[in-house]
Symmetry: C2
Subunit: 339 residues, 2 copies
DNA sequence: CATGCTTGCTCAATCGATGAAGCAAGAATT
DNA sequence: AATTCTTGCTTCATCGATTGAGCAAGCATG
């Protein structure tokens, strides 16, 4: 209707002129502290109406430049291709917005160089706080941020220089392995070591999961077969290759496996279907991560679902409290019922 | 090491002082147009080294405020909980970064109010361009942006006031329905109408898919059963309810169905497994959207995979060319082979 | 030697919002 | 009547980067 300017944006100066007042008054009214600045309700109302009519939107760039804190909160995340990270991101946005923070997220594809670059970009945008999710080198990012006076919190993978919120990987893996071992024993009447496939041997989560895997074997009195501990990376192709090579090397494939993430499971399942191995009898699987369709793949799969809501509550608990002590909060994951 | 300031950020003025030069020279060097501004290579090098040592990062707020264009590109997206939107977001980030643009993304949970709010927030952050993905009311967003002089492109769902890039929903649905009809006929020896479940009856994509669904039925000489066209929304629970009510009302459930998104499929599959219907014989399914695990659910499911890379190339093609004519680009989806 | 061109910088205004300080007019107090 | 207080504003410097305009020194040309 009253589109006076087709291209140029309305500023507080425009509104001030229209209202016959000063930019400072307009600013005070629009950012809500007009009472403190003793602007009359009459003028406040007038300005508010005008702003609405003109479709005014603050220039956050200008506002942030001037203010002490930006109220922007950043997150880096490895991938968007699974439910775990998807829900982390969605929940992060919700909780950030609840607190009046503006969330910006960037995906770093598990690439350390990209992680650093992304963190740098976020610093340029003056984030008040950065959540490093599943970062390969969290401490590097913490250092970068620290030198700009920006807080960091590690999520999913812990670091040594900032508070971290992670799953209880050991506990989850222990229980998951127990179940798969039990399922195998129930079906085959004898105990046998499982395959561990997926994840990076160097990352904390994978190491903890392997530890749980080993301890569950020990508990059951089953020796771990070292050739069957394959931390080959998360990518489906990597897991697929492991399976292929395993089938070439050995005559009898394991009857059960611990698959470290749905991403790796994708590769494992693809190989199982394509190769025709396990055609008569599916192996018992345990997957560390949850996906609704995996849950429907059959009753031979157990899953551990990381408790994303609790994890993000913990993250924002740390942010809200302003705590900076370097702790690792471990959130117990949920072991899903089969089927 | 040389962390002179533990909290305060380094600015070009700090660097200028350290280098014994002016802020303007520093700025010119750091944003790359020092040649144009006739700064000597010697000074450029000195400043670059200093900036690196000090861990300098531009203040984008200040930079954007001054510049004509922000080089920030926004995207709103309904959800992060499926592979389709996940890959859209990931691909969007990649292509944006390739072009030196800074992507910001926000998830609006299919909530029209949130969509508008999110768009407004993006305008405040001075985005140069906004991609509205799967927006319930794209035209509203376009208007909002237009009044701030910001371009918009609709993705996934078309609008009437900005260029749109969408899948060929009709074509995809036609082919998908054909296949499911054929699969049913092959198994049962006779033709029968399919169930259509999921999606919003009011959205363009769903309408087009229903049209394809109808035309495939017509082609096959099968009358569509109007009671079996259930555009109940995308949420799993909605689809589940449809199935339950259907089972209560009729004695014989359809032998095949067209499920409008993996999200709806989640509900359908859940019901199938829990209710015990279809226990002896799974229905033939066609799912409009792809998921790797759905592909493994069995050979009774056909999937249409929307061509995300092509769609986003089209989006950036429009952005790069600066075209503003209101066209609808339709990208043919990929009909996945079964199994 | 005067003039003009090139090189290599610096100066200062600017983007839009914010908020401390200040000012004028009226109300209240002594 | 003189003083202080309150109310309701306005003025102006500031945040950090960018960029048009300008300036001084060196060199070349006539």
């Amino acid at each position: 209707m009253n589109r006076t300017s087709p291209a140029k944006r309305t500023t507080i100066y425009d509104l001030a002129e229209l209202a016959g007042t000063s930019a400072s008054a307009v600013s005070a009214v629009l950012n809500g502290n007009w009472k403190k600045r003793r602007i009359s309700a009459r003028l406040a109302e007038k300005i508010t109406k005008l702003a609405e009519e003109q479709g005014y939107a603050v220039n956050m760039q200008a506002s942030v430049l001037r203010r002490e804190r930006s109220k922007i909160i950043g997150m880096i995340v490895p991938k968007y291709d699974n439910r775990y990270f998807g829900s982390i991101v969605e929940q992060f946005e919700n909780l950030a917005r609840e607190r009046g923070l503006f969330p910006i997220i960037t995906c770093t594809r598990r690439d350390p160089a990209l992680e650093v670059e992304a963190a740098r970009a976020m610093l340029s945008y003056q984030v008040d706080c950065l959540i490093a999710t599943g970062a390969t080198d969290p401490d590097r990012i913490v250092d970068l941020c620290a030198s700009a006076g920006v807080r960091t919190i590690n999520l999913d993978l812990p670091g040594s220089r900032a508070p971290s919120v992670i799953s209880d990987n050991y506990g989850g893996a222990l229980e998951l392995t127990r179940r798969v071992l039990a399922n195998c024993e129930r079906e085959y009447g004898e105990k046998a070591p499982l395959l561990f496939v997926g994840g990076r041997g160097t990352d904390h989560n994978t190491m903890e999961r392997v530890r749980g895997f080993r301890d569950a074997h020990a508990e059951a009195g089953v020796p771990v077969d070292e050739a069957l501990v394959q931390t080959c990376g998360y990518a489906p192709e990597k897991a697929e290759t492991v399976m292929k090579q395993l089938a070439e090397r050995t005559s009898s494939l394991p009857r059960g496996m611990f698959v470290n993430s749905t991403i790796s499971l994708e590769g494992v399942m693809r190989w199982i279907r394509r190769s025709g191995h396990y055609a008569e009898r599916m192996p018992h699987l345990g997957c560390f991560d949850w996906d609704p369709f995996v849950a429907m793949l059959g009753d031979h799969i157990e899953m551990v679902r990381q408790d994303v809501p609790k994890m993000l509550e913990a993250v924002f608990g740390i942010i809200d409290s302003g705590a900076t002590d370097i702790t690792v909060v471990q959130i117990p994951p949920i072991v899903e019922k089969i089927g």
